[in-house]
């Protein structure tokens, strides 16, 4: 333990995939008992670097020192033996096992060699949970756990394996504000007990909040390590991006039109057959951006699919400019000018055909236009060239397969196609998912341009800071139920967080019913009653 001041030292680490260098000569140190934030844009090589510490990848060149001793980590087992534990962004848990059993399946080697599972396994796990002040039931099945509980379990797991150094890959991406605060408390406690922690994130406010030092990577290269107390968000951004950047997001003020989209009492089932959305009402005006906030899996995907005609509507009405479009086919909805672009977790699954060229992806929604049996690629190529030029997409040519583009460019292709059909409603989910700062701001600008044209935009997002700055109003979903619709400039992150967890319901706040427009095209007795109540 006392070998060195540093828990981990990386010297001249390089790693390439094919001809792409993911890490170039990286030097990094982690002091014992500190929290080090690893900061960098997407594709800067953070996760690659950490995967080399956890034994998933092996460095091409360079050496790793743990406790001052040079080591070779050639498998995840080696990494565990050296006391390094990694909590991945995507959890690696068995759903039908209890918390304790999930921990024990990975435990090999020394210790319990018995053939049978013993009852005391729960006590062993409970001891660790208590020691660090976690909130977790060791007998609970993973399938019944919330995202935050699963993450806690992952952390308990690495601690149980005896990790002294813990690496967390974007742990807050899936958490609410309150859960993040709780996580940070636990991390501070772990630090007190002598653990060293590396936290990967690109949220600057969290970096400032939790870390002792910040190491910055840019495009696979190590830039610098700075003390958190001596830096600022602005300086960190400059180090991360390599130049000065304006962090403010524009929110142009627009003349409001009548609602272009009105949703009333919408209920939709999930793939598993339970209600993913229950009696949700909201409306969207032209020239406004309505944010949809909620913990992952609160019905956002089902909402988007229902609006695009891809999912059956169980109950409720969907009005587009006063005309009911519930039950219309995706094609009919598209022809009305409602486009939906959903960026799923794998970023390519819905909306794009990754192996096909940009041109072929651009023509996706109108390939049937034109007479005859042949696809009109000439017009498609023109459209593609226009999108590439206007959105500044970096690509060798329009014939390049979409999967060969970088994340930001892929998303620009997707958005570009949707905008090219001159929509009046844009439903977009996670359009900046996984994008770096530059690309994200490019996407915000694209959306704002559309807003200025009078398009109504439904923006399903993850980052509350962004939504607070970009959206005019934010509606919050929790377990498929509407928790309220609030003005972005009047609300706070904390309030949104409470609504996201279901602790606060503002649907009937102030005598008004959230999600029901005053000038609604829907005339219903009950609604009119509520409106008159509000008028009193």
């Amino acid at each position: 333990m006392d070998g060195s001041e540093f828990a981990i030292e990386l010297k001249n680490i390089s790693k390439s995939f094919g001809s792409v260098a993911a890490n170039k000569n990286i030097n990094l140190t982690l002091k014992k008992g500190e929290i080090l934030a690893l900061l960098g844009e997407n594709g800067s090589g953070k996760t690659t670097l950490m995967n080399m510490l956890s034994g998933i990848y092996k460095p091409d060149t360079g050496s790793v020192f743990v406790d001052g001793k040079k080591v070779v980590i050639s498998s995840p087992e080696d990494s565990v033996k050296l006391g390094i534990g990694m909590v991945h962004q995507h959890f690696k848990l068995v759903n039908v096992f209890t918390a304790a059993d999930n921990i024990l399946i990975g435990k090999t080697g020394e210790g319990d060699k018995s053939f049978f599972l013993k009852k005391d396994r729960y006590d062993k796990v409970d001891a660790i949970i208590k020691n660090f002040g976690f909130e977790l039931d060791s007998r609970k099945l993973v399938s019944n756990m919330s995202v935050s509980e699963k993450q806690t379990l992952e952390i308990v797991k690495v601690l149980y394996y005896g990790a002294k150094t813990i690496i967390l890959d974007e742990p807050t991406a899936v958490l609410t504000v309150q859960e993040t605060t709780k996580l940070f408390d636990v991390l501070r406690k772990m630090k007190e007990k002598g653990h060293s922690i590396i936290i990967i994130t690109h949220k600057l406010n969290e970096v400032m909040d939790i870390s002792d030092r910040v190491a910055i990577l840019r495009k696979g290269e190590y830039i610098d390590t700075v003390n958190t107390s001596e830096t600022s968000e602005k300086q960190l951004t400059e180090l991360m991006v390599g130049r000065k950047i304006d962090l403010a997001i524009d929110r142009p003020k627009m003349e409001k039109t009548k609602p272009v989209l009105e949703i009333r009492g919408l209920s939709v089932k999930s793939d598993e057959g339970n209600l993913a959305l229950e009696d949700v009402s909201f409306y969207l005006r032209g020239g406004e951006i309505l944010g949809v906030a909620g913990i992952a899996g609160s019905g956002q995907k089902e909402l988007c699919e229902a609006l695009a005609g891809l999912r059956k509507i169980e109950a409720g009405r969907v009005l587009h400019k006063g005309e009911d479009i519930a039950g219309a086919t995706p094609k009919q909805i598209l022809e009305k000018g409602v486009t939906m672009s959903f960026v799923p977790e794998d970023r390519l699954g819905m909306g794009l055909a990754p192996s096909l060229s940009i041109t072929d992806n651009v023509i996706l929604k109108k390939y049937k236009e034109g007479k005859g049996i042949l696809v009109d690629r000439k017009t498609g190529a023109k459209d593609a060239a226009k999108i590439i030029k206007e959105l500044e997409i970096v690509t060798p040519s329009a014939d390049t397969a979409v999967r060969k583009l970088s994340g930001g460019n892929v998303q620009k292709v997707l958005l570009g196609r949707e905008i090219a059909i001159d929509p009046n409603v844009i439903v977009t989910a996670y359009p900046v998912r996984g994008l770096d700062i530059n690309s994200s701001y490019a996407v915000y600008n694209i959306l704002n341009e559309q807003k200025k044209k009078g398009v109504g935009i439904l923006f399903v997002g993850e980052d509350l800071d962004v939504m607070l700055a970009l959206c005019d109003k934010i509606m919050v979903l929790c377990h498929g139920k509407l928790m309220g619709v609030v003005h972005a400039h009047k609300t706070t992150k904390e309030e949104l967080g409470l609504m996201m967890t279901g602790a606060l319901n503002t649907v009937h706040r102030g005598g008004k019913t959230a999600g029901v427009a005053k000038d609604s095209a829907i005339v219903e007795d009950e609604i009119i009653y509520t409106d008159t109540e509000a008028a009193k």
Binding site: V72, L334, M350, S355
Partner: protein, 366 residues
């Protein structure tokens, strides 16, 4: 110290060709060792194999004709399989669909002995395509309706079809018009002259119509996939069926349609083969349903690639058979063995052409 695989980027086509040639060379050396141990002169054997016995043959035209009889079904089947593979529909039922096409078309051939040759060929082709196509359609229907596993379903149809044709070929009975009446032992009947594949006589060489059609089909499929809306739909569905749905495509309809076309084309290959070999037999498929899978993947589902690959594999198969026929100490099984070694080496070469094995280095420039 460890090894890992890195996918090579920007490999040139001639580099791949070089790897393939090296792979074939290695397999030929292995084959030569086997041949020498059987006391056969490997050089003579390979000469026979690569020239398909054309040199010193008194009837070269016949050899070329026979070559095309085995090339046509393999090419059509590979093209048909590529069509469904492009859609990520794993149709491994080429064997069964081929037998269904051959068997049903032979019903027409045997029942209409006096029909006009072109009319009967047309009827045979339509029958073979429709029945085989319906099999494919049924499997696609189960897939779209109940999400059954198409790999298992197509595989099982292979066995059903195989044992049906064996049963017919082994059962002497009054109802069984497939067999020769003048033979006591069960034997498949030959078609009358009118049901045999018509040909154009080019100076003694008989160019069968099936060869001409096959060239047209290959061009048609290439055009269909590359330029038509339906072809575009197939690539989108194959790449991401979610995206296809999102674009408003009727994915089920596309799957049903494509699978019908794929199976019908294999049925067509069966009908062609029945007609050009003037009858059916239990081993009429010559394994094209399986070899076609290899051809389709070896060519990475590219249509021009499939034409080239199936041509080369047909030469290999045909040459192997001819060469082994001229040596009494080996039989056609040796030809199959050698074919297997060559194919395996080519696949290994293909892997090595696309990936490189990298040894991890460690440096101490601290």
């Amino acid at each position: 110290m460890g090894f890992h695989l890195v996918r090579k980027t920007d490999i040139k086509i001639w580099q791949i060709a070089l790897y393939y040639l090296a792979g074939i060379a290695v397999s030929l050396i292995l084959g030569a060792v086997l041949l020498t141990s059987l006391e056969i002169n490997a050089v003579d054997y390979y000469k026979d194999m690569f020239t398909a016995g054309l040199i010193g043959n008194r009837f070269p035209a016949k050899t070329i004709e026979n070559f095309f009889v085995s090339f046509v079904p393999l090419l059509i089947t590979s093209l048909a399989l590529a069509l469904s593979f492009k859609m990520r529909f794993w149709n491994i039922g080429g064997e069964g669909q081929f037998i269904i096409g051959a068997l049903t078309s032979s019903v027409i051939a045997l029942k209409c002995p006096n029909m006009n040759p072109f009319l009967i060929l047309l009827l045979m082709v339509i029958t073979g395509m429709v029945f085989s196509g319906i099999t494919g359609l049924a499997i696609a229907f189960l897939k779209t309706k109940f999400n059954t596993n198409e790999t298992l379903a197509t595989l099982m149809i292979n066995y059903i079809a195989l044992y049906v044709i064996r049963f017919i070929g082994d059962t002497k009975a009054d109802w069984n018009f497939f067999l020769r009446e003048d033979s006591v032992r069960p034997k498949f009947a030959s078609f009358e002259e009118n049901a045999r594949m018509p040909y154009i006589d080019i100076g003694g060489y008989h160019l069968q119509f099936s060869v001409i059609f096959t060239v047209l089909i290959a061009f048609g499929i290439w055009f269909y996939l590359k330029y038509t809306k339906q072809g575009y739909e197939i690539s989108v569905v194959g790449d991401s069926s979610k995206t296809a749905k999102y674009a408003g495509m009727n994915v089920n309809k596309i799957v049903l349609r494509t699978m019908f076309i794929s199976a019908a084309m294999i049925g067509l290959a069966g009908a062609f083969t029945a007609s050009s070999s003037a009858g059916v037999s239990a081993n009429i498929t010559n394994n094209v349903g399986w070899t076609g899978i290899i051809v389709a993947w070896l060519s990475k589902l590219s249509i021009p690639g499939i034409v080239v690959a199936s041509f080369l594999i047909s030469i290999l198969q045909y040459g192997c058979r001819i060469a082994s026929a001229s040596y009494p100490s080996i039989d056609s099984h040796f030809a199959d063995l050698l074919q297997g070694i060559i194919l395996f080496s080519v696949l290994a070469a293909d892997f090595l052409a696309n990936y490189k094995i990298v040894r991890r280095k460690e440096t101490d420039n601290a």
